[in-house]
Amino acid sequence: MSRYLGDDFILPGLTPNNTPFFTAGSIQIQFCDDCGHAQHPPDDLCYACQGRNLSFRTCPGTGRVESCARVHHPLHPALRERVPYVIAIVSVDGAPGVNVQGNVVHCDANSVRIGQKVRAVYEEAVDPHSGTKLLIPQWEPVD
């Protein structure tokens, strides 16, 4: 799918900790294998038990809009044709306590509401440094 804010817009810069989230084509959240704690963003240590046995688990790919905001002032030249657009905080089903950032796509910017159920969709792009295929998570309303 083409990108909500344009195919030339800023891409995630890949790191070992964020590569699963931005490339898997599913919602990848870091869990602690020792205590079961889910955390985001991923880090090198479990924030609940300080364990180092961490792995990514595939979540169902559904969630809920915890907050949203319509952006009217473009802070990047590429966004001048895109405003107003909607930024959102989405809680991830299957990962207790975890919220992620994103946009709510495939709908009117004025229709997005707190509490709305959403499901993940993925924007395709290529990392210019490594050639890695990116599948950037986004969210669309569940009817």
Binding site: I10, G13, A69, R70, L75, I89, V98, Q101
Partner: protein, 388 residues
């Protein structure tokens, strides 16, 4: 109460619209420090400590050399964030002088946004891939503090049934107070509630007038011990208590559920009230950093000034406006209407209130509070007590 450190001098440059300063940022910093030394009755060579914050560009070595300090005994800056640390400058200065590390410590902030880029412009983020740490937001066009605070504020307003009028009231109080202050960049430019609602959206729920300005200018304060202050001509303003910090597992701007929505000021308030032995109702005048109006109303609640259910009444009907307000608030006009010197100009105003020298002077001020920027951790606050 603590009071083992006192503010003996305050100084400012003129305040300009962003890009309007004829001076470089370094010249602005040196002007504010020289004015603070003159105000204190000190020679520049006597100063021996420097504190700033928020990725300060003006090296303490360059300043100490240029201003002729005989020696430098303390130089420090608090970690992390930005204007959230405006009051943490007093936290560090208090430690420096009450611990005997230095004698006359300067806290300063200077910015010339014509010389350097504007803070909120998003400039420098034009590359193809986001820097590490910013990848969670930038690809989604989530790229400014206004947007981050809007997401926090929208959810909080939704949860507590708070309307846009609460945000408007904060902005209107700042503008009303700035009309008494000839230093204010927005002096002579009164704002009505109709003007507020008619102004353009930046990011909902923030209109243009919900956002701090961008300015050029500098502010400085000089801190010493009460013993040394006895030899100086002016009033000394004691630092009664300071607090800086954060609660558990905040995750900064990653919006995790445990602290979403939140401004991270619950623990700053709790520590401050414990250390000072006072409560919010005891505060005579409040300067609270407005990055945006929403974070101000949220932080008022987190620090215990009121409950979310009561916040519209607490800030409404002019209850924050003017010297006779129920709670005199942002009496110089604050970041929204005086100048955005990243909140240090509001710490200066808090000192001025204790001295009785504000252009919007509250009556019988004994406890004057300055709170750093909400929404970013670690937060900070400083409480000043009766002048000696």
């Amino acid at each position: 109460m603590h009071g083992r450190a006192v503010v003996v001098g305050v100084g400012e440059s003129a305040y300009y619209k962003h890009g309007g300063s004829p001076d470089t940022e370094f010249q602005l910093a040196c002007t504010a420090i020289r004015n603070a030394a003159d105000d204190a009755g000190l020679e520049l060579r006597q100063l021996d400590g420097l504190i700033s914050y928020m990725d300060n560009r003006n090296s303490p070595l360059r300043i100490a050399d240029a201003l002729g300090f005989e020696e430098l005994r303390w130089s420090s800056t608090p970690w992390a964030g930005g204007g959230n640390n405006s009051s943490a400058t007093m936290h560090l200065a208090d430690a420096a002088v009450s611990g005997g590390h230095a004698n006359y410590v300067v806290a300063f902030r200077a910015l010339a946004q014509g010389q350097f880029q504007r803070l909120g412009s998003g400039a420098g983020l034009m590359a193809g891939t986001a820097p590490e740490g910013l990848s969670w937001g930038l690809p989604y066009g989530l790229m400014s503090p206004a947007q981050e605070c809007a997401l926090q504020t929208n959810r909080w307003m939704h949860d507590h049934g708070v309307s846009q009028e609460a945000l408007a009231s904060v902005s209107l109080a700042c503008y009303a107070n700035a009309q008494r202050n000839p230093r204010a960049v927005r002096y002579g430019r009164p704002l009505t509630r109709e003007d507020y609602h008619a102004s353009r959206w930046i990011v909902e729920p923030f209109h243009l007038f919900d956002c701090c300005m961008e300015n050029d200018g500098a502010a400085a304060l000089i801190i010493t011990t009460p013993e040394r202050a006895k030899d100086l001509p002016g009033k000394a303003v004691p630092i009664v208590a300071t607090a800086q910090g954060k609660g558990p597992e905040i995750g900064l701007t990653t919006f995790q559920q445990r602290w979403f929505p939140g401004m991270y000021y619950e623990n700053v308030g709790r520590i401050l009230w414990e250390r000072a032995g006072v409560k919010p109702a005891d505060i005579d005048v409040l300067q609270m950093y407005e990055n945006f109006t929403g974070p101000v109303v949220m932080a008022l609640c987190e620090m215990g000034f009121c409950e979310p259910a009561d916040v519209e009444a607490f800030v409404g009907d002019g209850r924050l406006e003017g010297p006779d307000a129920a709670l005199p608030f942002n009496t110089s006009g604050g970041n929204i209407a005086e100048a955005y010197i990243h909140g240090l100009e509001m710490v200066v105003e808090a000192v001025r209130q204790v001295r009785g020298e504000s252009t919007c002077q509250a009556k019988n001020v004994e406890l004057s509070l300055a709170v750093g920027g909400p929404g970013y951790a670690p937060g900070s606050a400083v409480l000043f007590g009766p002048a000696i």
